[in-house]
Amino acid sequence: MSRRTRAIALGVAVLLVSIVVGLLVGPVHISPGAALRWLISFGDQPSGMSEQQAAILANLRLPRVIVAGLVGASLSASGAAYQAVFRNPLADPYLLGAAAGAGLGATIAVAFGPSSAFAITVPLAAFIGAVAGVGMAYGLGRSSLGGRSATSLILGGIAVASFLTAVQTFIQQQNAETLRQVYSWILGRLGTTGWDDARVALPSVMVAVATLWLVRRLLDVIEVGDLEAESLGLNVGRLRLVVVVAASLATAAAVSVAGLIGFVGIIVPHTVRLLAGSSYRQVLPLSVLFGAAFLILVDVVARTAVAPAEIPIGVITAFVGAPFFVLALRRGGRRVA
């Protein structure tokens, strides 16, 4: 078995362990034995477990673990893919205005939509906003002098993000009662996750992550720069477009069910590179697997550290993420021009 295959097998194992941990640990104590028996018997309530506990496992913990895994995988894969096509170690899934667009969408839904429908309107508006934000950034970058080059897209993303954030701030100021709701959404949370969220996120995430997984070899090619990659026969513009579309879809789905969880798209790919080397042939799949495991475990901390209160998950990833930014900067600086 090659090193690469072994690393991926390890990733699968870690993911399975984290899923089990995610099911067993929570603010309400459920005996591990009973929980495992519940899992094995596909949801029949075993003895030693109350009806409430079975409901907690089936309707709260299991979907939450699944959604955490999907979100972690999305953000990590998107982050890794963006780092490749933009050749920038600090690229994260929110680069092209996805976060700003999602934030604006959520704010509009909270400020102007019917409050009885928030559970539907906010995620939908966030999704649309994320996709629209990226679309605007892409359009702006393309129409600029640099065309579809990495730099012009990044600059387009910055411009779009600034503009959308300004609009969001304005709307929030005019509707001060929305501030708290939007803020709590921005911090990222899985506290209200259920099967609906899992169902909504699953198709987009699977399609998008599968696409990125499939093009992982091409991400290696684009690492040598647009010019050389073109000379090797790669359609650089098309690859960049495919990656942007797939990553945006995954990110928009993640953001719509879990809010803005930051740093995952940086922490996971860089850790994977440190441990397993830089080829996207392993970095992409390992980012998916370890990204899912990472967020599942972070979510366990989020819901148990100050139980029964919840720490917004974005706060924990920020704590863990800050040192990683430093690391990424230092590694990026060593690149030979």
């Binding site: 499939l214 093009v215 070899r217 091409l218 290696d220 090619v221 690492e223 040598v224 720069g225 010019l227 050389e228 073109e230 000379s231 090797l232 026969g233 790669l234 359609n235 590179r273 080397g277 830089s278 080829s279 590694r331 060593r334 690149r335 030979v336 021009a337």
Partner: protein, 271 residues
């Protein structure tokens, strides 16, 4: 390794006619016409800013151009992207060296035009990589990371990637940049050997006229975007021509016990 010296019955591997390139509002190349016989080595020379690098990029299909570029008698534009990449390998002046990548994986990138969009490498691809590594004496370095190699070793790695591409036309942009004298000669000798072994056609740019003169068959002198002279060494690398276009006084030393060389002569007299 397939060679195509007479594809479509053409003796010309590369056929450039009236080539013009405009970039950023400036005319970089104008009305350049020459051809490269299959199996030969043509070197484009000229002062800085003459457009040599742009010429290579245009031939590789990487910049838009006016005029005609033909590869083995067929229009460059008529080749689909990947097929073109199977015919033309470009070694840039300053190749991007991604850190963290191993030599083996980097050379494997040369097989990209032979793999489908989503395909993975097959045994034949890995064998091509092996051959390239052996030929360039890099087998010992296969699992080494690129950022741990010296300049000379890196140059061989880059060349290995181009070799793994198995393209019959090799474009080399300043292949001796950053190498010490010994390595410069070794690299060029290697290219020459490969050319003879595999029937490769080579189009290179070089600023060192002595080395250019010793290795290439024919020459094309570019100055300010125009092709001002082309032909054999005696025609193009002539003291008067050089003085006119390089603005430098030289003496061309013909065959003798030190071999052919272009030697700059000080204006103030003395050697």
């Amino acid at each position: 390794m397939t060679t195509l010296p007479d594809r479509n019955g053409h003796a010309s591997a590369l056929d450039v006619e009236g080539l013009g390139v405009r970039l950023g509002g400036h005319e970089i190349l104008r009305d350049v016409t020459f051809d490269v016989t299959a199996g030969s080595w043509v070197c484009a020379i000229g002062p800085n800013g003459a457009g040599k690098t742009t010429l290579l990029h245009a031939v590789a299909g990487l910049v838009p151009f006016q005029g005609r570029v033909g590869l083995w008698g067929r229009e460059l534009g008529a080749y689909p992207r990947r097929e073109r990449a199977r015919l033309v390998a470009l070694v840039t002046q300053q190749p991007v060296i991604p850190e963290g990548v191993t030599v083996h994986d980097y050379v494997l990138l040369g097989r990209t035009p032979h793999l489908g969009m989503l395909g993975t490498e097959r045994r034949s691809d890995l064998a091509a990589v092996e051959r390239a590594l052996q030929r360039l004496d890099l087998v010992w370095a296969a699992e080494r990371r690129l950022d741990t190699l010296s300049g000379g070793e890196l140059q061989r790695v880059v060349l290995a990637r181009a070799l793994a591409q198995e393209a019959p036309l090799l474009l080399l942009d300043e292949p001796t940049t950053g190498l010490d004298l010994g390595h410069q000669v070794r690299v060029l000798e290697l290219v020459d050997e490969l050319r003879r072994e595999h029937g490769l056609t080579v189009l290179s740019t070089m600023h060192d006229l002595t080395l250019a003169g010793r290795f290439a068959d024919r020459f094309a002198l570019l100055s300010q975007g125009r092709l001002v002279s082309k032909g054999s060494r005696a025609d193009v690398l002539d003291a008067a021509v050089i003085a006119e276009h390089f603005g430098a006084s030289v003496r061309v030393i013909g065959d003798g016990d030190i071999g052919w060389a272009v030697v700059p002569v000080s204006e103030r007299g003395g050697s």
